[in-house]
């Protein structure tokens, strides 16, 4: 089983919080550590965004663009996409 704490954004979560939860839940992003390093393409979260975009067949912009947001809001299975 995988430590998926609290599945999804509910009311009030900002897009970035939703993104952080999504990457933590499904792409093994380290939990809770402040991830946002402004404008650094090498930041761990940009790498994780690109990993998610690659897996889900999206353009690998490394940014939280609208098509990435759309997919993140779609119903899905709670099992992660990449294994620890």
């Amino acid at each position: 089983s995988y430590p998926l704490h609290g599945g999804s954004a509910r009311g009030g979560d900002t897009d970035m919080e939703l993104l952080q939860k999504y990457l933590e839940n499904y792409y093994g992003l380290a939990r809770g550590v402040k991830q946002f390093v402004k404008n650094k393409d090498s930041s761990p979260i940009v790498k994780k965004i690109q990993e998610m975009q690659k897996f889900l067949g999206l353009e690998m912009t490394g940014k939280l663009d609208s098509s990435t947001m759309d997919v993140m809001l779609k119903p899905r299975c709670g099992v992660p996409d990449v294994g620890a």
Binding site: S1, K74, C77
Partner: protein
């Protein structure tokens, strides 16, 4: 495709499952049927066999729950996470949990239980997510899936067979040994746009299309149908039959020709048949029926004769008063003589000559017009 880290898999090919509880969204029979169909998806392409447990521990425990449900991975209310499942192993491993804050449905108006269960059971067998959007194991749910044409993608088949290998030879319904169990139809016949059928029926999640002395047997998981002599499965059944239908909660298919009908369970012909169709309550003025279908939800069976139909109550085992009624009155758009009919995924499929009408009983209208052999993937 991918497998869980370390590629855990079941050591045995014969696995047990138990439906621990039910969602209030669907009748129990619908949940049972969706889970059976979902297991059959994987059974068809592996040596795996599943048998149901009604109490105690089973390899795969299937349950519905909302929010926190004892595995430290709470569900999140309606939407987003629909379900999750665990890799093969002891205890919670192998189990599948469904979020009961979702609206579980048999069709695609809500979250289709069969589709999600087939995906989650893929996890229970050891598959992880696939990056191919067309794969069943792709993580994001596809509402638009066309249930009538559901089938595993090659990626799903490659994934599960990387763990368990291909199926052994035996078919789901044992074949009575004859010299030619499976025939090769004249290839132009199966995909002929003019193809029509004498009768059609479901049978344990598969579809049977009867014509003259033969029948096609289509599973949702294999692209091509099998083609067999009727007599190779059921020696005493007639050829060129008039109608056939399955009563799923009796695991029985009834076959009609003239004023008689037979009953089979799998490949076993039931004793005491043929019986007269008039024992069902059809008037003696009716010499034969054209088509019949049994609605497993409503537990009603419909007998179609020319432009009229009768309705039979499976619980009371008697024909209902107030019939016959005009077919066109209650099935708007079904105007021509019905050759055959079956029910699948909440729709009625009426066959007339080379045409097939998909009828939505909720909307009470024809939702698609198809070729009769559209199920054969020509």
């Amino acid at each position: 495709f991918s497998t869980f880290p370390g590629s855990p898999k079941w050591k045995e090919n014969h696995l047990t499952y138990r439906i621990v509880n039910y969602t209030p969204d669907l009748p129990k029979e619908s949940v049972d049927s969706a889970i059976e169909k979902a297991l059959k998806v994987w059974e068809e392409v592996t040596p795996l066999k599943f048998s149901r447990r009604w109490e105690g521990e089973a390899d795969i425990m299937i349950s519905f729950a909302a929010g926190e449900h004892g595995d430290f991975i709470p569900f999140d209310g309606p939407g987003l996470v629909l379900a999750h499942a665990y890799a093969p192993g002891l205890g919670i491993n192998g189990d599948a949990h469904f979020d009961d804050d979702e609206q579980w449905t048999e069709d695609t108006t809500g979250t289709n239980l069969f589709l999600v269960a087939a995906h989650e059971l893929g996890h229970s067998l050891g598959l992880f997510h696939s990056a191919k959007p067309e794969a069943l194991m792709y993580p994001v749910y596809k509402f638009s899936a066309d249930l009538a044409r559901f089938r595993l993608s090659q990626d799903d088949v490659d994934g599960i067979q990387s763990l368990y290998g291909p199926p052994t030879a035996s078919p789901a319904v044992p074949v009575v040994p004859t010299k030619a169990n499976s025939l090769e139809p004249e290839s132009s016949l199966t995909c002929s746009p003019a193809l029509s059928f004498d009768a059609v029926s479901t049978l344990r999640g598969e579809f049977l299309f009867f014509k003259d002395r033969y029948f096609w047997r289509q599973s949702l998981r294999t692209p091509e149908p099998g083609f067999y002599l009727i007599s190779s499965f059921w020696p005493s059944l007639p050829s060129s039959m008039d109608a056939a239908y399955e009563v799923t909660n009796r695991d029985t298919v009834f076959i009609f020709k003239g004023d008689q009908f037979w009953a089979v369970r799998g490949h076993e012909e039931q004793a005491g048949y043929p019986k007269s169709i008039h024992t069902l309550g059809l008037p003696t003025t009716v010499g034969k029926i054209d088509a019949a279908v049994s609605d497993k939800e409503k537990k009603k069976t419909y007998f179609f004769v020319e432009d009229q139909y009768w309705r039979f109550d499976e619980k009371k085992q008697s024909m209902e008063p107030g019939f016959p009624r005009k077919i066109a009155a209650d099935f708007p758009g079904v105007d021509s003589k019905v050759d055959a009919v079956f029910e699948a995924f909440g729709f009625f499929y009426f066959f007339s000559g080379s045409s097939q009408l998909e009828f939505d009983p909720n909307a009470k209208k024809v939702s698609h017009v198809l070729k009769s052999n559209s199920w054969f993937n020509c």
